[in-house]
Amino acid sequence: MEVRVQNIRKAFGRFPALDDVSLDIRSGELIALLGPSGSGKTTLLRLIAGLESPTEGTIFFGDEDASKKSVQQRNIGFVFQHYALFRHMTVLDNISFGLKVRPARRRPPVAEIRRRALDLIDLVQLSGLEKRYPAQLSGGQRQRVALARAMAVEPNVLLLDEPFGALDAQVRKELRKWLREIHDRTGHTTVFVTHDQEEALELADRVVVMSKGAIEQVGTPDEIYDHPVSPFVYRFIGQSSGLNVTLASGEIRFEDRPIGLRDANEADGPATLYFRPHDVELVDGCGGCLAGLVTGSRRVAGTRHLELNLGSAHPSVEIELPPERASSVDQSRIAFRPTKWKLYRRKEDLTAPPLQAQTSAIELAPTGT
């Protein structure tokens, strides 16, 4: 079912958790709410579920205004980070719960409930464990029970709050793949919350990047990674470096020297240049480039990460090179140029003197995980 969030504001006391958030969730899609802790992503999920009520704004399920409905009436499936399984009930009873508590006229017959629960147990690959108690299951198994329990009520929308947050890396990866398969097979509209960008990019049809109670960008994983619309998204998704530069007649200058990049559409003045570690090319003879001293070198799987010092007034920059390229430039000084980059202007760039602009760059340092 299609879910539309319109101009939602939510305040806890005087602290605003969400500020004027709007989002259209398409029917049948798998969408991720991604952001650092405190960005409001879980609050948004709980508002859709009806576990919290908005201070202002409306939530539509299809054409129906769901904001006036209680959590019970919304018919959603919610999966909690720490599973929240009923510990005194078996796997089968946990999964049947949502059907058993229905009022008599809407409740399926006992045999039907059992059949549906067993089907779901089969779907989440836990056949044979239906008589176990939650305490007798591993973390990954518990999360599958939680998912089956949420799906048993045939929800309008499936909401997952950091579904893999409490699991170890290996199980996470498996469950991620498995969740994608389940989604493709059942077609439930699914919203999940995560602070793990890798998880969001790998799993979701679309990703909603959130920060400080607002949505920064909504898009497919490719759009988000390749065309970040704000410095926050650039920093939060993947690795990136930000350098304080100045623009002079369309030419980008770093420490008053041109670096061989042009941006004709921007006005002169200070700006921040963002690029990703792997979007760089090495240049011979620096007629217009960035140059730095190699201060560290790490081999990470198939690439070599070099840490460069571009001057004491700037944070160090990391670039990634294929190992063979990196060893061929076995010198302490490296000249390079970003191949894909983006320039962002900050409001204070246009007014503040350069020294202050540099200190604010430190405040802008990545906060995400």
Partner: protein, 295 residues
Amino acid sequence: MAHDISSASAAAPPSLVDAATSESRLARAVLTAVALGFVALFLLLPLTTVFIEAFRKGAGEFLAALADPETFSAIILTLTVAGIAVPLNLAFGVAAAWAIAKFEFKGKAFLTTLIDLPFSVSPVISGLVFVLLFGANSALGPLLQSYGLQILFAVPGLVLATVFVTFPFVARELIPLMQEQGTSDEEAALSLGATGWQTFWHVTLPNIKWGLLYGVLLCNARAMGEFGAVSVVSGHIRGQTNTMPLQVEILYNEYNFVAAFAVAALLALLALVTLVLKTALELRYSDEIAASRRH
């Protein structure tokens, strides 16, 4: 760790390979002896004395003492008062713990402190409070009296005093338990379409049932054994407002030692049964208890 060390220094004298937390044999023996001696002197000895004194003149005298009409009425009264006070505090304790553990509201810390009040106030004062509230010179007492409702020196007064003294037990037991469990189980049940009542009955109650049971057992033990507060509000009318602890005192003051100790023994027996019941349940359901605490 201990294993590594012992294999590395196999030739060293045994005392060196002991785990860091173990004491020498002498220290262990002394500590155990002190603990056991203390228990024997201050718990076992008095308790045995009660039973020995009760049966000093044989089982016949013991039963005769309990069959005495005044004593018998005291036993019935104690059971009645506990039978009213315990369910009341059960309801109050669950409600208070639910409110404190699952909701945020103003005055929460104050309520939590208030629940402890009966533990910190002397029971005699608790009793006096009710005398002041419902006594002949108070505003409430004569008013209720005019409607034919006798509070002081009657069963209602005894129940009120007992409820006051025992009300922390259930709530105290449940609050930390419910706080630890949080609200996500309830949220899960609600999101699956369960009503508030279904959620309480099928999810919350099973999660807290062991804590609730301990609370009720302790509450019951105290309700039956309460002396101070009850003594102030009872008026000591024989055969009418004397509970078992008060009856023990009266009989003792009349040098009727066998009867006094007989009632005392019965009271002690009730306490022992409570303890045994608790331990038996713990043994019987130890797996389930462990599962409900962990997870």
